[in-house]
Symmetry: C2
Subunit: 397 residues, 2 copies
């Protein structure tokens, strides 16, 4: 486990410097001048401003947590969840107020993970979300399984409620107002996701793409020569939906960073795109998805069918076998696999990777039936649950 | 858990009959007459023999355990491991002789699984194998990890020893003789794998293929019109090695059975082939492989390179994170992925499925780097270990 949040720093400025990289922390770039090929830098400690020229520029400005209109994140007791500083502040407040009521606004990955961990410390936790289920990026039938897990953990759910305002007289939070109720809270966590921090790029005239992120091609090149972007400030090509999307995930950021670095160094490198894979855990369940779900399929107007099956993570007679639900989507006519979602016990989550790999290879649902997936009674059933779902779905395509 | 071996019967004769299938157990087919399109059946209980005509014939005669030349499996205390009857006999003997010394001949999947389970009951267990490591179907560096696990379990290893004869005066075993030692044993388990039971097909003139199994195409058709074969008596096309192979595994058998049934019913069905995926567990480790390993790559004369890396099943700071070793093989020049092997803690085994899926899609090692695999600190590292191995291997191709 981690005793100190500093232990979560993957690479320190010193480590960069030892690698021969001139890492300047507490320096903010205020302007990018594409014509002059230079950036204006503010040294925050010294207070001085200077221009730094570049041959290649990489924009890696990341993302900012979403704070709804009219909500002041500076109110005491209100926190976003993005940086290590956020984590330190939340930790201090929890230590100072062990019995505090917590309201988590947003029932996506971050909100649910925060809610579960706070609940496990014995606190009263309420999750406010405008959707009828938690994790509404899953299809309703699958997110209902997650919602049930949260209820079993003793988390109070305020679903189909929208945050209106903070109840914070004198700048100290004591509750949240939704369109339907007042929820008392000494601590409010805003877990509403992030938006790309692309202001610098936008003001310089670098073209933006999906969700206002910097638009990049498969070599992480922006629309401006010698300017690259990677990570949470950039968009990415969606191999399944065949359009650019904004998915601020560590996996994409790591790959884009590698590819941008290679491309800047003049070496061949290509980030083919994403399929939209994510996974988390709630209670004893893994929850994962990849590809398109019901919402995206409708938005794109794809003629599709789905099948959801329940099976076990191991052969039923083995100890520690637990239930697993797999849902697949396929395109009618072509039979093309479009996406999948999995909710299940230990070992279920990473099984989404088979579907993600199949999506990268543009496989059909029929192709899944032929896959040579590993079987041993203690690790799977003879027909892998993904293939059981494919066997049902293939009849409807 | 399973209290009665009968509970392991997946489908009883009665279940077949309820489904409208005329299942005749204790009936042996002694002859297939391809010209007359009929089989000669011996009713073992009634002792009578009769001819049964067919429109389509499916050969599903399975496999027989390998018994070395000169070894009499009828000796008291000597067992093969193939049928439920074998399991019942072993169980009875163990109950009657709780302190018996056990020698397991053969250090493959079956031998190692038997050895571990017998060792866990407190018995003295010795595994005899002619190879320098257990599970020699893995590359030597990977099988060494398995061998170390067996030693930690307290299993005695007699490696690089070949079974010569049983020491069984009066028809009761009391030890085995190898080319290097005598090992005392009241129970001897022969875990030397299986051979196809293709005698009926061969005598009828149905062409045989890999390892003497019935040769089948992708619709499970044999070389004779209207005669099909499926399961442990049949061979299968290897998608990676691009030749037919004999791999008697439950996964292939299930898929071939489905495809043969559909094909006989005149419906389109195709079993594209196998990549050779298998997984087992020893101690707290999962052990899996898919595609070609060092031995097959050498035999096929492929110009290949490999990379093995060690990582963790989860982000290192998470509880229950354990080590995982991933080895990949790729073809020089083309960059084609050839195979992979994984040894690691809980959750490691089924990760082989990503490599198996990539092999089915004929991906390159470079393609693995682009895969959108699931990440969450409790379930994986940001760079999946399979991709870490690919990142190292891609430099050598």
């Amino acid at each position: 486990m981690v005793d100190d949040t500093d232990d979560l720093v993957v690479r320190t400025p010193e480590a960069f410097r030892r690698a021969g990289i001139d890492a300047r922390i507490r320096h903010r770039v205020s302007t990018v001048d594409l014509r002059r090929r230079a950036v204006e830098v503010v040294d925050l400690d010294e207070g001085r401003t200077y221009w730094e020229p570049y041959d290649h520029l990489l924009l890696a400005t990341g993302a900012r947590p979403v704070v709804p209109e009219g909500i002041d994140p500076g109110v005491a007791g209100v926190y976003t969840v993005k940086s290590l500083d956020d984590a330190r502040a939340i930790k201090l407040t929890l230590q100072a107020a062990p019995g505090a009521f917590v309201v988590v606004v947003g029932g996506g990955y971050i909100g649910v993970e925060m809610a579960e961990n706070l609940r496990r410390t014995g606190r009263s936790v309420t999750v406010v979300d405008r959707n009828p289920t938690l994790m509404a990026h899953l299809d309703p039938d699958m997110s209902a399984l997650v919602t049930a897990s949260a209820i079993r953990l003793g988390i109070t759910l305020a679903l189909e409620e929208a945050l209106i305002s903070l109840d914070a007289p004198g700048g100290v939070v004591r509750g949240v107002e939704t369109d339907r109720a007042h929820h008392p809270a000494q601590i409010v966590i805003l877990g509403l996701g992030v938006r790309p921090d692309a202001a610098l790029a936008a003001s310089a005239g670098v073209p933006l793409g999906a969700a206002g992120a910097v638009h990049v091609d498969e070599a992480c090149r922006t629309g401006v020569p010698d300017v690259f972007a990677a990570g949470d400030c950039a968009d990415a090509y969606d191999l399944v939906g065949r359009r650019h999307v904004y998915q601020p995930l560590a996996t994409h950021a790591s790959k884009q960073g590698r590819v941008a670095g290679l491309a800047i160094a003049g070496r061949p490198a290509r980030f083919p795109g994403v399929t939209g894979t994510s996974v988390t855990q709630i209670g004893s369940s893994d929850v994962s998805r990849t590809g398109l779900g019901e919402r995206e399929i409708r938005a794109l107007g794809v003629d599709a069918a789905s099948a959801a099956i329940s099976s076990t993570t191991r052969v039923g007679y083995m100890p520690d076998s637990s239930s697993i639900t797999v849902k697949l989507w396929g395109e009618r006519g072509s039979g093309r696999l479009l996406g999948g979602q999995i909710v299940g016990g230990a070992g279920a989550g990473k099984r989404i990777d088979v579907i993600a790999t199949a999506l990268s290879a543009a496989m059909t649902v029929e192709d899944l039936l032929g896959l040579d997936l590993a079987y041993s009674p203690g690790l799977s059933d003879t027909w892998d649950p993904v293939q059981v779902a494919a066997r049902v779905l293939v009849r409807d395509l």
